[in-house]
C-alpha cells in the first residue's frame, strides 16, 4: 500500500474538434450515475437532470448555419466557488481524489452552490424523480451510486465510484493504477474518443499529453476557479 499517499490528480480533456454532439456521453452518464428522467413537462421547463449539459451554439447566418457542441459538466474546480457557501459541508473538496464532492445525504437543499457555480453544472432534485421510476426500469439503477431523493443537489463526480473501484483493485493486486484503466462513463461511451480521462500528475498519461496541446483552453479561466476539465479546439497540434 505504498501508493496510498499519492492518489493523483484526475483530469478530463474534451476535444471539441472530435465531438459531434451525439449525446452518447449524456446517456452513458445517466445510466452510470442513476440520473433520473424528469418527465416531459419538467424537462421542457428546464429541470432535466443530466450531469452533462450538451451546449449547442449556432454559427453563421441562416441557412448557412452550422452547430458547434460543447459538453459541459462539473469542472471539478481546484478553488470551487460552490464549496465554501454550503452551510453544512455537503459539497467539499476531496483531498485524496482532488475533485469536488457532493455528499447527497448531507445536503439540505439551500441551492446556494448551484447559484454560485459559474458553469451551471449543478442539478437539483425538484421532486422524488428517482423514486417514481416505473417498475421494470428501476433495474437500471447502479448499486454503486446513491439514488438521490428530493431536495438534494447533485452533479458530475468524475465517476468517483469507478475511480474507487480501480484504485481498490490496483491496491488489492499490489500495483499502481494503470493509465486508461479507470474510465469515466462518458469517456467509455464516446464514439469519437473525444473524451480523455486520467491522472494529470503522470507526465506520460494520455491526459497529460493532451494537456500539452496548443489548442487547450478552460472555461471562464478569468474567475480563477482552476477547473480540472480542459477543452481542445481549433488549429494547432498535439504534444508539447
Amino acid at each position: 500500500m505504498a501508493e496510498e499517499t499519492n492518489q493523483g490528480v484526475w483530469g478530463l480533456v474534451i476535444d471539441l474538434n472530435l465531438c459531434t454532439g451525439c449525446n452518447a456521453c449524456v446517456t452513458a452518464c445517466a445510466m452510470e450515475n442513476n440520473i433520473p428522467w424528469v418527465g416531459e413537462e419538467d424537462a421542457g421547463y428546464g429541470r432535466s437532470m443530466s450531469w452533462i449539459n450538451m451546449q449547442r451554439y449556432w454559427e453563421g447566418e441562416y441557412p448557412e448555419v452550422s452547430p458547434s457542441y460543447q459538453p459541459v459538466m462539473c469542472q471539478q474546480c481546484g478553488r470551487a466557488p460552490c464549496e465554501p457557501v454550503c452551510p453544512v459541508f455537503a459539497t467539499v473538496h476531496s483531498e485524496s481524489e482532488q475533485i469536488n464532492l457532493q455528499v447527497y445525504n448531507r445536503c439540505i437543499g439551500t441551492r446556494y452552490c448551484a447559484n454560485n457555480c459559474p458553469y451551471m453544472a449543478r442539478k437539483f432534485n425538484w421532486f422524488d424523480y428517482a423514486y417514481n421510476i416505473p417498475e421494470p426500469m428501476n433495474y437500471y439503477l447502479n448499486p454503486s451510486v446513491t439514488v438521490r431523493r428530493r431536495g438534494v443537489m447533485e452533479k458530475c463526480t468524475f465517476c468517483v465510484q469507478r475511480i474507487h473501484d480501480g484504485q481498490e483493485n490496483a491496491r488489492a493486486q499490489g500495483r499502481a493504477v494503470i493509465d486508461g484503466e479507470i474510465m469515466t462513463a462518458c469517456q467509455q461511451a464516446c464514439p469519437a474518443d473525444a473524451i480523455i480521462f486520467g491522472d494529470m500528475t503522470d507526465p506520460e498519461s494520455q491526459v497529460s499529453q493532451a494537456l500539452r496541446s496548443q489548442r487547450k483552453y478552460v472555461l471562464l479561466e478569468e474567475l480563477g476557479t482552476q477547473p480540472k476539465v480542459t477543452y481542445l479546439k481549433g488549429e494547432g497540434y498535439y504534444g508539447g
Partner: protein, 481 residues
Amino acid sequence: MAAEVKPIPNAIPSPHAAEEEDLREHLMFDPRPREEMNRMVMDSMTHTTPRYWIVVGILAVLTAVLLYGVWGYMIFTGIGISGERRPNYWGIFIVSLVFWIGISHAGTFVSAILRVFKAEFRRPFTRAAELMTTFGLAAGALWPLIHLGRVWVFYWMIPYPNARWLWPNFRSPLVWDFMAITTYLLSSTIYLYLPLLPDLAMARDRTKGWRHVVYKFLALGWRGTEAEWFRLRKAINIFAIAIIPVMFSVHTIVSWDFAVAQTGGWNSTIFGPYFIIGAILSGVSAVVTILIILRATLKNMDYFIRLEHIDALGKLLLVFSMAWAYFFFNDYMVSWYGGSEVVRTILTFHASGPSAWIWYVMLLCNVAIPWLTLWSKKLRRTPWLMLIVTLGINVGMYFERYTIIPITLGHQRMPFDWGEYTPRLPEISLALGSLCLFMLLYMLASRFIPMVPVWEVREGQEAHQLRKVGKTVVPSVSELE
C-alpha cells in the same frame, strides 16, 4: 414640574399660531392624566368588535391554508411545485426572506437609533414599530426554512456536537445568516419585552380573569421600585446601543449572501450599505403604513399617533429614498463602468429584458413617487396619500429584491443557460400567506400587548417644556436620566 407641561395660558395670539400648534402636537403638549391614558390604552386593547374577529378569522384561515397548507404540501412533494428551475435556483422564497428581514429593521431603527439620538417624537409608536420587528422576523425566519429542499434536516445548520463529527461550515454566508437572524430575533424580542414590563404591570393591575393571570406572569412582579427602574434603564441603554450594530450586521450579512458570490451582478462591495438603506426605507414605510392603519382602526389611537408623527417619519422617508437612490446609482454606475461583459449584459437585461417593467416600477415607487410627494408638508399630513406612498415603497423594495435575485440569476456567464423565472401559484400563495401570518400576529398582539408605551409617553411629557422666548414659545427637552 409636570405642571409646566401644560400649554401656557393666555398665550398671545400671533400669526404663528399654526406653527405653535404643530409644536404642541409634536411633543404631545396636551397631556392627559395618567389614569386616562392608561384607560385609553387598556380600552384599545380589550375592545374588540365582530368585524375584528371576522378579519382575524379570515386571516387565520388564510395563514393556515396559504402558508402552512401549501408548505406542508411542498414538503411532501418537493420544492419543484415552485417555479424555480435552472438557472433561477432562488426565486421569491429568498426575495421574501430579504423583504421581511428588511421590514424588521424598522422597529430597531425607530426605537434604538431614535432612542439613542433622543428623537422625542418616537415615543408613542416605539411599541408598534418593535412589534413589527419581531413579527417581521417571525415571518422572515420562515423563508430560509420554506426555501430548503430538505427542511426536516435544517438543524444541521446549528452547531452542536453530534454522532457525525460534523459541525456547520462557518465559512458559509448561510450560517452567518442563520446566526445573525437568530441573534436579531432573540435580541429584538427581548428589546420588545423589556420596555413592556411597566406596561404589563399596568395591564396586570387593570385586568381580571385569564388576562390578569398572563400579565401577572409576564410582568415578573414589577412594582416600579427605584431599583427596578434603574435596572430597566441600564438594560435598555445596553440594548439600544448594542442592537444597532446587530441590526446593521443582519442585513449586511443578508446582502453578503449575494455579494460574496462570484455571480455577476451580485459581487458588489456596496451591497452591504445598499441593502441596509433599502431595509430601513422599506421598514420605515411599513411603520408609517401600520401607524396609519392603527390610527384608523384601533380605538383611542388618534390621541397617541398623530399626523405630526407621520409627518416626521415622512421626512425620514424622503431622506432614505434619496439615500437609496444614491446607493442604487452608485452600484449601477460602478458596475456599468467596470465594463465586465457579464455585468453589463445583466444591467441591460434589467432595463430592457422581458421583466424590465419590474425595474421601472421599482424606480417609480422608490424614487419618483416619494420625491414628488414627500417634500410637501401638506401631502405628508394626508394619511390616505401616505398610505399609498408607503405601500408603494414596499412594492418597489420587493421588486428591487426581485430584480437582484431571480432576474440577475437568469442571465449569468454561460449564455446557453440563460433562463427566465416566473413564480408559480404555490410560491405566490406562500408569499401571501406570510403576509397573512404577519397581519394575523400583529392583529392578535394589538389586543394583547399595550400598543403604546404609556410610561415612555409620560416620561416624555414630563421632559418637555414650552419655553417662552421673546414673542413665541419654543419647546425644550430636558434630560431625565
